[in-house]
Amino acid sequence: MKKKRKKISFRTMWKIHGVIFVAPFLIGFVAFFLLPLINTIYYSFNEVGVGDQGGMTFKWVGIQNYIDLFRSEVTTTNTTMARLFTEENSTMLLSLPLIVIFSLFMALLANQKFKGRAIVRLLFFLPIILGIDVVMDMLTITTGGTTLDTGSNLLSGSYVTIFLVRTLNVPMRILYPIMTYVENIFDLISQAGVQTLVYLTALQSISPSLYEVAKMEGATAYETFWKVTIPSIMNITFFVVIYTIVDLFLKSSIAEEAYAFAFTQGKIGVGSALSIVYVGNVILVLAVAALLLRKVVKKNEK
């Protein structure tokens, strides 16, 4: 018995302990991720009903659920699925670069040295708690007539706009999209909390000697930014972009639709099909983003 025990080397023992440490995650992975995933795929090819004794019954229907999903089913707000997906994706792709650039911008501002920096930082990271879905819903979505706005109408009613339109004759066609973005700035900020935090720490971890060298060599601030700052934070940009995509997908309404299909309309199969299409969509977007970014990151690392 003792001899056998000795056979397990120290290294192996260490590894076993390591496995014990990840065991909870592995169990969770199988129980809360893998099984539900397999089940979702299985449900999506079946017509799921409730049996006489309370169990679930399955009838294989092939890809009928998917066909139904895009042909005949509509969402709770009466739009088609194809339209729901296009809308979700286009808003996501539009806000992704905005959020990333904006969070970098906020981090750059917060990284400067000035008086009252502590207060500014306190406010800059407030979006981490203001950006929580519930709070955002309560703050922005209103039912009454003229109600609280989150910075909306600040621009469209301001003197700047009147000046631009009346005196400079800037056509509304150009001004309007800009105005919409400016007026939704709080939406943008509220989604950039964690990203700003990550960027700020990335900026602070850049070695000051790099900036000194740049200064000695006579680089302008502009050159320093593009040749020192940007390459140094390229890796973290990768993380920020992926995080933002995931975060934006988390906020999409597709899950509620799937839930509505399954438990309001009793079409578990269709709901599962929707979930699967959704997963495919997420993977596709992430893969494209990762491929594009990898090229940019590599280019900057040289």
């Binding site: 995650f25 992975f29 703050l139 009454g144 609280l148 990550v198 720490t201």
Partner: protein
């Protein structure tokens, strides 16, 4: 002689002075503009909260009054009280329950994510890369995509037929049982937990190996090394993850709403009470409770925003205590560089 020298020097200096002056004004201008920008941004961030105050604290009659913008004519706490009664049915106990729930889940999440993160970073066990890939995969796939199957799974909860021992049906309905939320946190699937595991593993990767070796030579085993040496060294990342976890769990409506809908957490109460379908109900409550016959749609929004304000109080407190550490700690988190 001295004068002459001074004169030539001043001639040279004149050029220098102009250069310096230019530089100074340039710097000053840049500074000025960035300050303006910063102030503008700060204003945009805080504006929604500031503008809540007059809406929440003015009398119901004043809400539509165009003459009242920032300072209410008469101070009143009706909306505030109504909201408090709505989202805190048991008074402060509800708030306490929500806070305790978030804190409890936070502790579990931190404890188990740290373990997994440590093992992934420091122990070269079999299939480590595979497990790491799993963590990333879980992070990437939005959790709601599996909601349906997870929900059904919890309705018919049964682990390898163990439940046969406890119930007749051989399965147990775990929906509405808070234990689901605990299970999820313990097994690494709470709110954003894969992100936390990732952060922990990045942090532990950067801790010098010598620490581990020293503790081994001093005769500590695996567990003692972890709990005595590694965990105390991980305080920065623990507090960062802790703050994020608390905030996200407190504000979470997803898991609480679907897996424990009757749990009456403040977040779920907030999101389920103040939907437009409930408008008449809330206005009616306002009229009967506080004798405000003119309560209009605007009053509904006032109550709703009062609810948001109440909900934010614990978060703001935690945030004020923790935010200064947040930036410092993220630097040591190993995520960067």
């Amino acid at each position: 002689m001295k004068n002459k020298k001074a004169k030539t020097e001043s001639k040279v200096d004149a050029g220098l002075a102009i250069y310096l002056f230019k530089n100074k004004t340039k710097k000053g201008l840049v500074r000025f503009f960035s300050l303006v920008l910063i102030m503008g941004l700060c204003f945009t961030i805080i504006y929604p909260i500031l503008s809540l105050v007059p809406v929440v604290f003015s009398t119901v009659e004043d809400l539509g009054n165009p003459n009242v913008i920032w300072i209410p004519l008469e101070f009143s706490t009706i909306s505030f009280k109504t909201a408090a009664r709505m989202i805190m049915p048991q008074g402060l106990a509800t708030m306490g329950k929500s806070v305790l729930y978030a804190a409890g889940i936070m502790v579990l999440q931190v404890f188990f994510s740290a373990m997994v993160g440590y093992s992934l970073a420091r122990v070269n066990f079999w299939g480590r890369r595979l497990v790491f890939g799993m963590v990333i995969l879980v992070f990437l796939l939005p959790r709601q995509s599996l909601l349906l199957a997870q929900y059904i799974y919890f309705v018919h909860f049964d682990v390898l037929g163990i439940m046969n021992l406890f119930t007749k049906a051989g399965e147990i309905n775990l929906i509405n049982n808070p234990i689901v939320l605990v299970l999820l946190a313990v097994f690494g699937f709470g709110v954003n937990q894969s992100l936390f595991i990732f952060l922990f593993s990045q942090f532990f990767k950067n801790i010098p190996k010598e620490l581990e070796e020293a503790s081994l030579i001093d005769g500590c085993g695996f567990y003692r090394t972890y709990f005595r040496i590694m965990l105390p060294n991980a305080i920065p990342i623990i507090s960062t993850v802790g703050i994020l976890s608390f905030v996200w769990n407190y504000g979470d409506t997803y898991y609480t709403n679907y897996f424990n809908p009757n749990g009456s957490y403040m977040s779920t109460l907030l999101s389920s009470t103040f939907i437009s379908a409930n408008k008449d109900y809330i206005l009616e409550a306002l009229r009967t409770w506080y004798d405000a016959p003119v309560a209009t749609d605007l009053a509904f929004d006032a109550v709703k925003q009062a609810g948001a304000l109440i909900f934010l109080i614990p978060l703001l407190i935690v945030y004020l205590i923790g935010q200064r550490k947040l930036v410092e700690n993220m630097e040591n988190s190993g995520l960067v560089g």
